[in-house]
Point group: C2
Chain length 410, copies 2
């Protein structure tokens, strides 16, 4: 029988009624003639509540024990979903990551899946069982429970779908697909029927996506047909697919803002070879990921060097940078939290010029100042003032005609 993998997020299993509704949808897939494997996240706000419990005991819990703690959230969900399916009269079994054999590295809290076993799953399916697997967790080589980081259940689902060569992988969530922009900010945002993997990756990496980046990477690498759908409706949702011909006719697929970064300008840097590398090495040695990196053209033997980092890394970044500023004889380092990053994404950019010009004109028309720019093959990002971010998103969304009326094609 073909296999279908479904994943239900926390809002889709938030209480007894929603768990029963999810169970109904799972057995419906079984009735359609699929072998069904379902990955489940922790109920509603359970994970937050567990972190809060840890916080009552210590402000600095060891990561291994934190994983031991929060992994209980998914264990509760899979047991309850299995009970609800059993109550509907279907054979079912819930399995933890170690029972399936989801092996990860030892990076607690942000572990990466190394391999997935399929024997137990196949043998349960052969018995006729619907298989319910705990998302978000794995087992390290030390036999310890690990977790994959926020949103990691998506990755569990896609990794299992890849290993099982599933016919499809459906991600059930509380929105009904991927939109051209966040509909809470852009009222005429439009649901997309299809997004290609690379576009989704760029959108996910900006925190704009409804999918975990690593899940999209897996789906791309192993060619898993991936769908994002609402668990509260029967709408078809959005398919995340390989790039197919015709897709590049659309200049921009979607636009998004991210408000999780800080800008760190280092001014008066001696304009000599190797200085930029010194700064970058010092920061990345602290496991801090730099995002946009810009160096101005120097004058009078000095230049300015600016980068952005996640706000959560700002304090460490400033500590490290202050030291390096002294060492290299720069004039100083500061930080700016009041920025947002605006991006437009689309594989059409590869073959069409004029995307950047159209974006910058739209911002200029609204008198929105651009502070930094970075581009990739299929994305253009600008750092702008946080106060203007939503206005800027609407302006860009209109400029590329992403709204209900259609999309700018060439």
């Amino acid at each position: 029988m073909p296999i279908i993998v479904q994943k239900y997020g926390g809002t889709s299993v938030a209480d007894g009624e929603k768990i029963k509704a999810a169970a109904g949808r799972i057995v419906a897939a079984k009735e359609q003639g699929y072998d069904v494997l379902t990955v489940v996240s922790a109920m509603g706000k359970t994970t937050d509540a567990l972190y809060e419990l840890a916080n009552q005991v210590t402000s600095n819990p060891p990561v291994r024990e934190l994983d031991m703690l929060v992994a209980t959230g998914e264990q509760v969900s899979i047991a309850l979903i299995a009970m609800a399916i059993d109550a509907l009269g279907y054979p079912v079994i819930s399995l933890l990551a170690d029972q399936v054999g989801i092996r990860t590295d030892t990076s607690h809290g942000k572990a990466r899946i190394l391999s997935v076993q399929t024997e137990r799953i196949y043998s349960e399916m052969a018995k006729g069982n619907i298989v319910i697997v705990a998302g978000f967790q794995g087992v390290s080589e030390n036999d310890d429970i690990t977790t994959l980081g926020r949103g990691g259940s998506d990755t569990t689902a896609v990794a299992l779908a890849a290993a099982l060569k599933a016919a499809r992988c459906e991600i059930y969530t509380d929105v009904d697909g991927v939109y051209t922009a966040d509909p809470r900010i852009v009222p005429n945002a439009r649901k997309l029927d299809a997004v290609c993997h690379d576009e989704m990756l760029e959108l996910s990496s900006m925190g704009a996506g409804v999918l975990h980046s690593r899940a999209v990477e897996f789906a791309k690498k192993y060619d898993v047909p991936l769908y994002v759908r609402s668990s509260f409706s029967d709408e078809p949702g959005t398919v995340i697919c390989k790039e197919v011909s015709g897709m590049e006719k659309v200049m921009v697929r979607g636009a998004a803002i991210s408000r999780e970064d800080s800008k760190v300008p280092i001014i008066g840097v001696p304009d000599q070879p190797g200085v930029a590398a010194n700064i970058l090495q010092a920061v990345t040695k602290e496991n801090i990921c730099l995002d946009m990196i810009v160096q101005n053209v120097g004058h009078e033997g000095r230049t300015d060097f600016t980068f952005t980092v996640a706000r959560s890394d700002l304090k460490t970044t400033l500590d490290v940078s202050s030291t390096i500023v002294e060492e290299i004889g720069a004039e100083g380092v500061s930080a700016d939290d009041s920025i947002a990053k605006l991006s437009v994404v689309g594989v059409g950019m590869r073959s069409h010029s004029g995307v950047a010009a159209r974006m910058f004109s739209a911002l200029a028309a609204r008198k929105i100042n651009i502070q930094l720019i970075s581009t990739s093959e299929i994305k253009i990002s600008c750092v702008i003032d946080d106060d203007r971010a939503e206005d800027a998103l609407r302006a860009v969304h209109d400029a590329f005609e992403l709204g209900e009326d259609g999309t700018l094609t060439v």
Copy 2:
């Protein structure tokens, strides 16, 4: 280093402050020069809350999934205790039943421990780690999570203490030891310094004990020095030990009432060989445990046959009994919920006569009617009217001088 095993019950880890207090006690044992293994139950009312969650999904959850669900309670506790110990600066690791290798049979919800591995524990202790183990759970040969039934964490602790040949096993709870009778009913009840295994077993089996019966059986079988202590004080508690000389000088160690049984009289039973066996077989075939069984002397070819069962088994018992009553041509079966079982326990009974007489006189003096009597080597139990149970307990407690002033010795 000698090993000490401690077990903390749900009330001892009910919130962040209590968890920190328990952590303090655990590291104190480490400081005293022991290798420490601690078994922890689920926090406070967590297990009840998990059963309630299951109830919101289905009224008849599969036992395997129920075990998957409720086992999370102890997992949360061990992670939090480990965090609290880490915060005190001591190396620590929490382990689940499958990580330790606590193997059980497949009787979900009431599994029995078959074997315990010690390799992982020894290797963690060799690294200097305090080891925290989830109580109440095990792993079956099917690699499924099992639970040992209410109070099963006591058994986990004693089984591990036996396997590790621990110097002592301390059960921390919310009372400061074993009493001559329930102090809430008998104000002058006295805490016992020592109780022997057989006495504790009889007290535990009546639901009167602060310890799980199976834990006492393990302690007896493997000669584990077992202590019951309060986690909220530094009182020495009660030691549950081998019977030592001098113990038998005390006629009665303690007294207790149990109110969990029903009396089922079958009247007008044909007084023929094999009839009693028929009745017993029919009931025990339903996995119902009969407690007291009494058959009167027959007259006119008929006799009465009475037994007690747990109230939770009463409905099934009556269904089965009604059928058998017809088959054997008895006159009828009824049921009486309004009974209590009063018992006195003590190894001194083996060598002293007059215990029963003293007990019955005490009841007679208060005009308390005895409905059924059963005796074992070290216990005498009477079924009496539930309304008189507490009065009866105080009467018997006084008759054997169990109160603060001392105990009747011979």
